[in-house]
């Protein structure tokens, strides 16, 4: 699609005046930002929201909010939530939902911490040199958790919300038994180093987040699997008749989701070398909020990775801004809920406004009863 349009543009560029050409190009770019269809709307909306939030808190308390430490804190705290939100977006793209992602992330962190502690007990040097392998084992544990979700959803045929509700309890329960309900200490030193490191004042954790987002964006927008995931979410029946291997697609989606959650577990440990079964239990709500704010359609088919990244940053900004102007975390919970519902209402109002004209062509209020009675009489 893109090569042909490019060719046409180049052809038209050769025999049109440069000013008109520039104007056209400007128009195209503006249109792409201003009037985007479907998923792009989330990204555009979140750019505005992010700038608004930044401006608001800068205005309210510039000394605290704009301090480099605060900005760095935002960049360090955002990745773990953001990556789980991207995983949630991916699953929501198929029309499902994954409530077990946070439990999987904790499970991965606990796996890494336990492995490291077990090896370090006999040979600390070996444990540190094996750091990378241990981290991979943690991500593998996440993949396994995701694959089990995928199995329940695709092969057994359980509704995603119920399947992941159950596996959330299972993973969480196993984690509680495993840790005895206490917090584990100890993680490979590699992780601690990554958590502390920064490239040109940008924390490495944030760079990992951006790279992950780009990879997922490529997966969704540029691969066959990504296209099949989108089609599956947009219309499962049509997808089945288009010979899309529904089971395999769902299986892969949930496995990738679990893998991303496992990666988030690694980031938990990189930020703070402790692991526990109930870490981040409030993330389950937060992550759904972020995914929906970022333009993900909860019924499937449409999503934007860029939008989710922006939504993550916006909510982090709001959260740290609330702290900067000394509001409690409970007020932040209210704000989260209000933002979520306000955005969904706005979306619903906008979509009904654009959809209304064809609906009102046959006047519904008066015409239907008469036609109904006439049908009954005949």
């Amino acid at each position: 699609m893109t090569p042909t349009t490019d060719k046409r543009e180049r052809a038209s560029a050769s025999n049109t005046p440069p000013l008109k050409n520039l104007n056209d190009q400007l128009g195209r770019v503006t249109r792409r930002f201003v009037r985007p269809g479907g998923a792009q709307r989330g990204a555009g909306r979140m750019v505005v929201a992010l700038l608004l939030a930044m401006a608001l808190f800068t205005f309210l308390n510039p000394r605290v909010f704009l301090s480099p430490i605060n900005l760095q804190n935002i960049a360090v705290a955002a990745p773990e939530i953001g990556i789980i939100a991207i995983a949630m977006m991916l699953v929501m793209l198929t029309g499902g939902i994954d409530l077990s992602l946070v439990a999987i992330a904790n499970f991965s962190a606990i796996t890494i911490s336990t492995l490291h502690t077990a090896i370090a007990a006999t040979n600390p040097d070996l444990a540190n040199s094996l750091g990378f392998v241990i981290v991979l084992a943690g991500i593998g544990a996440g993949m396994l958790g995701g694959a089990f979700n995928g199995f329940l959803v695709s092969v057994v045929g359980i509704t995603p919300i119920l399947a992941t509700l159950a596996t959330m309890q299972i993973y969480n329960g196993i984690a509680i038994v495993w840790t005895g309900g206490s917090t584990l200490y100890g993680a490979p030193t590699v992780l601690g180093a990554i958590g502390q490191a920064a490239l040109a004042n940008v924390p490495v954790l944030f760079i990992i987040f951006v790279i992950t987002a780009i990879l997922v964006a490529v997966l969704v927008n540029r691969t066959a699997l990504g296209r099949m995931i989108q089609l599956e979410g947009a219309n499962p029946v049509a997808a089945r008749y288009s010979a899309i291997p529904t089971r395999a697609v769902l299986m892969k989606t949930y496995t990738v989701g679990g893998m991303l959650a496992g990666l988030a577990g690694v980031l938990f440990l990189a930020r703070n070398p402790t692991a526990s079964a109930d870490y981040g239990s409030s993330y389950v709500l937060l992550v759904i909020v972020i995914a929906v704010l970022g333009g993900t359609n909860p019924t499937g088919g449409f999503a934007s990775v860029f939008g989710v990244v922006l939504a993550t940053l916006t909510l982090q900004v709001v959260s740290s801004g609330f702290t900067a102007i000394r509001l409690s975390s409970y007020e932040y919970a209210i704000a989260q809920g209000v933002i979520l519902i306000a955005v969904m209402i706005l979306d619903s109002v906008m979509s009904t406004r654009t959809r209304r004209p064809p609906k009102t062509t046959p006047p519904p209020g008066v015409a239907t009863p008469t036609s109904d009675t006439s049908l009954i009489r005949t």
């Binding site: 119920l162 509700l165 299972i170 909020v289 519902i341 109002v349």
Partner: protein
């Protein structure tokens, strides 16, 4: 065949009852202390609050929605009522307390209902949002202190028992609040089966568009449903505070999923249109009995979450596989139909 089908029930209540019975028998053989009046009464007592919650969740699930804000509504209504009574220094008596709480609960439910019905939004995500709002609002505007002393009428209710029998292994007592729960179960069951409102819930859950065209007031019904759930949750919240003899704003929230799991186990379909009070009560009892028996067998209570999760996977998995088999069978019948038709066409 007819009798077997009747015993099995429309929502597998019979199977559930059988599983429950089997579990009780097995537990009684494994550990004789299980089969006592004490255990039975304590299971009943521990099911009081979950059963009321489950009734509310059942109503929502039948309409095809899901509500995860009910626990936040319950603690909001119960806690703010107690705070109000204590700070105003007067005791309106039990009916007054319940009325205030129900009013608060229904008002919060109204918010859910209006947002969901007016804008056609996904119920899970709306109630996740309102859950945060309600909980945050309670902490910010009502307070976060723990009250160890309740108003006198509530404190008195906490210690009144229906039966108080001393058996050879200790006192067995059945709390008086079992009675209102029973009344609520009967009332909800009657409403679902015998009233037009109940019918409309099933109709909306079965196919919302079909219900609209059949003349049901879909939006109005949806709003009433969420108000009803808010009211039920408020009752459960007050009862929880009475039973725990203290008002702790941190209670209840976090256990929503266990209740939803119990309702689904009880045969309600998550897509709506199916579910019964009998099944729901059996589902809650099953979860409670398993909790109790795990402890008695000596399984650490940490496994509880996992056990409920596994139970849910098995229960829902069986339903899913059965549904798929039914769908396949229907398709086979359809194929036969089309074959016959083509044959007839060929013959003519």
């Amino acid at each position: 065949m007819e009798l077997a089908r009747k015993l099995r029930g429309t929502n597998n209540e019979g199977v559930l009852a059988l599983v429950l019975l089997g579990l009780i028998v097995a537990m009684s053989i494994a550990n004789p202390t299980f089969f006592t009046l004490n255990t039975g009464f304590s299971i009943l007592r521990s099911s009081i609050v979950p059963v009321i919650f489950a009734l509310g969740v059942l109503i929502v699930v039948i309409t095809g929605g899901i509500d995860v804000s009910f626990a936040a509504i319950a603690i909001f209504a119960g806690y703010s009522t107690v705070t109000f009574c204590l700070s105003a220094g007067f005791d309106p008596g039990l009916p007054g307390i319940f009325l205030i709480a129900i009013g608060v609960g229904a008002a919060l439910g109204l918010i859910n209902g209006v947002v969901i019905a007016r804008f056609n939004l996904p119920t899970l995500i709306v109630t996740l949002g309102t859950q945060g709002i309600f909980f945050g609002a309670m902490y910010t505007y009502v307070g976060a202190t723990y009250y160890a002393d309740l108003p006198k009428s509530m404190a008195d209710l906490a210690t009144s028992n229906l039966f108080d029998i001393t058996t050879d292994i200790g006192r067995a007592y059945l709390h008086v609040l079992v009675v209102p729960v029973l009344v609520l179960c009967l009332a909800v069951g009657w409403m679902l089966k015998r009233t037009m409102f109940g019918r409309s819930l099933y109709a909306i859950g079965g196919d919302i568009e079909a219900a609209r065209r059949a003349g049901f007031q879909v939006k109005r019904t949806q709003i009433s449903v969420y108000m009803l759930v808010g009211a039920l949750a408020a009752i459960a919240g007050v009862i929880h505070i009475v039973l725990s003899r203290s008002a702790n704003p941190r209670d209840l929230v976090g256990g929503e999923l266990d209740i939803i799991a119990a309702v689904i186990l009880g045969g309600a379909a998550i897509f709506g249109g199916r579910g019964s009070v009998t099944g729901t009560v059996l589902g809650v009892l099953l979860v409670q009995v398993i909790k109790n028996s795990l402890l008695l067998v000596g399984v650490p209570s940490a496994w509880l979450r996992t056990a409920v999760g596994v139970l849910l996977v098995v229960g829902v998995g069986i339903q899913a596989i059965a549904a798929r088999r039914d769908a396949r069978r229907m398709r086979v019948i359809q194929d036969l139909d089309t074959e016959q038709k083509t044959e007839q066409e060929l013959a003519s």
